[in-house]
Symmetry: none
Subunit: 425 residues, 2 copies
Amino acid sequence: MFLLYEDENGLSLKTILVVADGMADRPIKELGLKTPLEAAVKPSLDHIAKNAVSGILDPIAPGIPPGSDTATLALLGYDPSEVYSGRGALEAEGSGVEVLPGDVAFRCNFATVNDSLVVLDRRAGRIVNEDAAKLATALGKIRSPPFLKIKFQFKNTVQHRAILVIRGPKLSSAVSDSDPETAGKKVLEIKPLDSSVEAKRTAQIVNMLLHSFHEVLSRHAVNEMRTRKNLPVANMILCRGAGNIPRIPTLQEKYEIKPACVAAVSLIKGVSKVAGMDLISVKGATGTVQTDYLAKAKAAVQSLKKHDFVLLHVKASDVASHDGKVKLKIEIIEKIDKMLGYILSNTDANSTIIAVTADHTTSSVTRNHEGDPVPIMIMGPGVRCDDVVDFGERTCAKGGLNRIRGLDLMPTLMGLMGKTKKFGA
Amino acid sequence: MFLLYEDENGLSLKTILVVADGMADRPIKELGLKTPLEAAVKPSLDHIAKNAVSGILDPIAPGIPPGSDTATLALLGYDPSEVYSGRGALEAEGSGVEVLPGDVAFRCNFATVNDSLVVLDRRAGRIVNEDAAKLATALGKIRSPPFLKIKFQFKNTVQHRAILVIRGPKLSSAVSDSDPETAGKKVLEIKPLDSSVEAKRTAQIVNMLLHSFHEVLSRHAVNEMRTRKNLPVANMILCRGAGNIPRIPTLQEKYEIKPACVAAVSLIKGVSKVAGMDLISVKGATGTVQTDYLAKAKAAVQSLKKHDFVLLHVKASDVASHDGKVKLKIEIIEKIDKMLGYILSNTDANSTIIAVTADHTTSSVTRNHEGDPVPIMIMGPGVRCDDVVDFGERTCAKGGLNRIRGLDLMPTLMGLMGKTKKFGA
């Protein structure tokens, strides 16, 4: 049964934007110089391509490798060069930790260090959630000296990952990381990155806090137990990516739409929350390659009932690329294709715009985000369908959209929905 | 023998960027509405096209005719609207005349004027280098009044061309030209172009200096000799293009590469020097249509041993276009093709990126730089090769790069080399 969307003004258009993280790739020798997307069997994606206008898209700008955070901001119509200040705050928001204007947020790891503070394991043996939760509770009870007038929240998220948010007067996100990024190196002292009083004060506070964390963790019963079990102790917190929450107009404010997001990854949820989107929880959506693709598709279609615009984000394609697993990446793309199949079968083509793209190219060879453009296609009422018949990095380069920027996508979609405002008379 | 490039991290990629000055053109009636590039026999360029991703490129922006200086700045990743302040300083740098921050540099011509200072010949009969050098030495001995606190350098370059650099307190490049641009007009008084004290002072100083130059030149033995030989006397210096040296981050600073430039033309050498590139001298490279193409190709390939990125610039294609010599332009393009053949045979396809473009369109009909886009192609590891099989203004318009700007080229090339930094996380 198709869903039909009618409001008091009659039929209204709805948009599903599917973003497959790192799905775009470069030609790969063992695939006969095809990309994984070109090599995959993808009837639903190709069906959309046949009925869509397609093109290539530079998430940020040609040649610039985007992060998933900056790319998603751009795809949602926010210029990351204006609003982005580090990943910590966006990830905190997505983890359900409240971040207010002025707060400084960090991404953290539970880690193992020796007595000289040399990092032995940046992930404390990928500590299980239960242990991390107990340690996080203990850290949350630490009191900072009253004269500093600061409060902090510390929350474990998945395994070794955690969030630290600091609130108080005169704070700045212009501070360096304590995470040395590789094992075998000493924990770094956090330093101010500019000459402001705020940066200096923030660096001092976080260094003090991390010292206290180390003290509490080193003596905690969970770590005594881990030592007995021969597991790496989680006796240090490593911090990186200090950031503030960007103050941006919501998508409601910009386009008078009711937007939602189906995503499992905290970072994407954070970006979406900041953009004023409702976060839809999906059982079985894990942000891993084993995620429940169909459950996500169902949730996206369902949420179209109460929303105009749904971002459906799938992380798995990026995970496979970073691991250099070409075959797995193809399998994931084929699962994403089935996900699109469900969406096609359960939405009304007369009232639904379906757009598919990637947030960036991730090369399965370099295993890195790359600055190459990504394919994009848009199907729906009013679209100037072109003669591209399959969805790929190179086929889409011949499409009717030609080459656009990430920042162009939302106005294009909102234009098709009749939600962009006329400039001039 | 192929060159293989290994650094401590294993194989590293190298890039040769070939820029054929003014190679792009418009359809020409006598070529059956082909362009010279489309009419030329060019197996090596077409071989690259077959294995490349191609596109069209607006050096500055659609419709804007670039100078070779602004175009080269843009192709090297510098926004000329931010960093460009006149051609004089760049040409001076390329001629080996030191230009420091605050100096004002002019491009000059030795010219012939009558007693009323009306220009009879803007190039003094294209005076030979030997005569120009003697006159320049005489001018260099002029002393400016001590109270002005300025020093100047005057250097002849090729034939009638010369460079004047002024150094001292309170100087400005916001001054007009003394060159009336056409014979039959009177030498212009240099005027301040804004209301600053510095511009007024600079205009006065240069007017005084040019007056002294005229005095010295008029009475010089070289000119007496030229009169006897019935050659136009070089009794005046015409100035134009006042500029300061742009302060820009070098390519090393921007991309952590070691760049070099193979070029004969002072202006291109100047741009490259300012960008921190090593200038490779090539015997037989003249910047004229008789240049030694193969020697330049050899020098470029050789310099890849110690550099990551080599700009190989050929002036000849532009010279033929300005003279409206279509047949000559085709011959030059065919020589450039042989140059590319050498490069293809002497570099390793697994570790070398080869990019070919023009800095601007020069119409053999209008004989001017035009604002039409230029073709661009990029061959190398990781490139999403498209189905364009020959290199031309119109074939490349169907390529996988679509249409990019000059400023996009370096990030695109550096992205393929893994040298662009990720924005975001």
